[in-house]
Subunit: 65 residues, 6 copies
């Protein structure tokens, strides 16, 4: 999935969803995303750029077509 | 259970339930589901396709008959 | 406790309680229950049959007499 | 602390507090309590008897005098 | 930081903050505090004495001057 | 990223965001930040100074420009 665009649902608050290009992943499923955008109620809400997502707080990963 | 249809209840928000065909599972109970559908209030709400579910955020797994 | 009936309180939503017969348990306290019933406000609410409960999301286990 | 009475605050719902006699503890801080009582708003609310508390969902342990 | 006074923010309920003197810490960041006081809305609310705080449920540790 | 300013979103309560200078990070993604400031609704709300953030309760890390 490296290099492809993914959608990641995180814990923390309800409906915390991010989309970005997967740059790297480690053994703990920590993800490094590029060009990351926060999605609120299905809309692109905020541009976050390069982010690290903590693996144990990921709920769900799915590909973005 | 590989190849069979399962129902998975996740943490994150209340009543976050997914159904799909179990494609693979690793040592951390991370699940790869195919033809995944999100279930809201017992109804098929959204089609997600291929998803990875993080093992430590799974609450409950049960078979779908 | 294998073969005996237990009550398990889970994380996820408030008062998420399950009762079932303990079929097996692994090193991570993942539980496999049979004839599992969901308990809501002290009442048997829904029959779930065979379920796997993720160990790290278990709050409390107690025997059912 | 084995054999002494302790107060344990758990995750799951707000103010989920239990008191009991510590029977055993393992490397993961999983606790086995005897004569366990659930405490709601500072009052003894419900008698649970023998319970296992999952270590990673414990917030705080303190002695009961 | 052993022997110094620290402020610890815990998971469980919102704004769950404790202050105490750090007596010991283990590899999992489990903390043993002495003379612990619960802080609610910035006020010293309740004296807890000797407490064990579970490392994985700690959000933030900061020194108290 | 050592020495650079980062923004960290934590679990615990909704929109719990901190900004600070990354002083060190360990294998568990525990972070030591200096000159840490709590951000509430996008505003600098409270100065916390030197803080330790527990790795498993981090949701997201992003650079601050």
């Amino acid at each position: 999935m490296i290099g492809s665009k993914i959608r990641v649902e995180m814990k923390g608050s309800e409906h915390h969803v991010l989309e970005g290009t997967l740059n790297s992943v480690d053994d703990y499923l920590n993800l490094h995303l590029l060009e990351t955008v926060e999605i609120v109620h299905g809309e692109r809400a905020r541009s976050l750029g390069s982010v690290i997502l903590r693996g144990n707080n990921i709920i769900l990963i799915s590909p973005v077509e």
